[in-house]
Symmetry: C2
Subunit: 333 residues, 2 copies
Amino acid sequence: MSKATIKDIAKALGYSISTVSRALRDSYEISEETKQRVLAYANEVNYKPDPIALSLKEKKTHSICVIVPEIANNFFSEVIDGIDYAAYNRGYSVFFFQTHEHFGREVSALKHGLDRRVDGFILSLSGSTDHYDHLKELKRDKIPTVFFDRVPPMEDVNKVVVDNFHGSYEGVKSLVLKGKKNIALISSPLILSVTKERVQGYKACLKDHGIEVDERMIKYCGFQPEESYQAIKELLAYKNVDGIFINSDRLALNSLDALKRQQHLLDHIPEIVGFSNMKHVNLLDPPMTSIHQPAWEIGIKSANLLIDQIESKLKDIKPSQVLLKTSIKEHNK
Amino acid sequence: MSKATIKDIAKALGYSISTVSRALRDSYEISEETKQRVLAYANEVNYKPDPIALSLKEKKTHSICVIVPEIANNFFSEVIDGIDYAAYNRGYSVFFFQTHEHFGREVSALKHGLDRRVDGFILSLSGSTDHYDHLKELKRDKIPTVFFDRVPPMEDVNKVVVDNFHGSYEGVKSLVLKGKKNIALISSPLILSVTKERVQGYKACLKDHGIEVDERMIKYCGFQPEESYQAIKELLAYKNVDGIFINSDRLALNSLDALKRQQHLLDHIPEIVGFSNMKHVNLLDPPMTSIHQPAWEIGIKSANLLIDQIESKLKDIKPSQVLLKTSIKEHNK
DNA sequence: TTGTAGGCGTTATCAT
DNA sequence: ATGATAACGCCTACAA
């Protein structure tokens, strides 16, 4: 299966290696007859150029490397689905690595990709990435890279993100419009790029609607379930919370779960809005209105942007910033 | 960054290429002193052997190819997480492809992997794979392969699966023990290997508890949401269903959703048990007891099994069948 | 102990 | 129109 080489064909047909190579690439210097014979035979033995040999020569592997915090997550797996789709269509294969939110793994994933000589990277930063030397190196060495979702605070890099401010604003607004006054925020750690914008969206919306921002109603927490539990606990003890906004996909179900485990303490459950890319949010109890991100499109855009860069002759094509919109899905209870 | 070659080192140090190569591999023929110098310098310029060049020589790419129906799915993404973990630990990178349940894409993914010269495959069959010539070719050509979950009806191939019969049996049993008499089954298509065993588990459990199996209470349906809707609709029209067993991860939420949309027709909602790898099943409404598969372990086992094969000198190591257990998680409502 | 040369599969340059 | 050869980066007989 697909083991024939140019040399084999040459020998079988009595041509030289170079003639066969040229015939295969449909070179103008080769006679029609020869081309026919070579092509026919190549087809017969199911010849496929060896990508390894090609890579060695061209210094291109036609593969890209995707680095994400976690693959077992609706948002990221949908993004990867999109990347896969676009990359496949353009003849690229995709390697991927997970950081599991560890900075160290992010660096080593990058190293691995580099060692593998991938043509470029698509990445979303880990939850513990607080300095960016490794990324600056990428930039310095002009290695095509696209960031999505959690992007670094760097200028002149390719980014594909959603309008986090607006998404949060809309989410909080839906709570306000339902008459909620004591709206808490469960937030992802401030270290993530998306966090700041989302927190601002929350604050701006409250202010615009004449509700004072109370910093004690804002809980930053990590992705361990206990952290959400603790945050909810503190909130409930602090005030008569009637609305909760959860600004992270990774935190939504954890928080919902935490709330459910403590709901016996409450006379009524607060209204909840959260970022989520779960397919069937409507099946949740307590019910949650969701802010949905166009994950698949993010993947598509990222991959296309990256491959454009890779294939661009101009070495210094200027970086693009792509901004997509979130959408809101009200629960129907 | 990692661009130095052996040749560069040789030139810089005034050695020949082969001396450097040997020094790097710590060959016994090289003097300590030379080794030191070479190693030190290699380190300094951050030398890394080019995997492409290595591959060309060794005919090994140290990469494996994972082919799954869908990545944006809890079960599969968890499996991939496991594969990634194990592969990474053993120095392999992983490519992956999705079939989206299309036979054609399965074949082309395989071709792509082969073209890429991956060292082996891990795959779970698409929902439309009904003949196996492409897999037999793999076997004939002795290309290391491990199947998981949806495996082909072939002897002497590596498989990693769960005890589907037992999982179903336990699931149905939990319904029976709750006093349910009219227990329907929403099943994945019969074409999948897992389906038969799971249907048998359902039937066996009913029989063992003196409940007659009614074929009209069994609905086979595909993964489009409408199909679940239709199935539920027919079931409700047919009989006073008081229990539903859903034998597929991919069908569980769809069916739950379908039920929810039709529950206004019912005086009480049937008790539900379903295969699911969702992290927070307890948040679902209607509530669902879940049969959980050890997805991460499946990934780990599959990857290790595959890499064992790849690295085995014996060309004809005999295939293994790994059987893992499911677990049941009762909802607490 | 170190160097030379050939080969892995391909393309490209330079003959013929 | 076709062939011989070098080169990509590495390893490894075989020489020295």
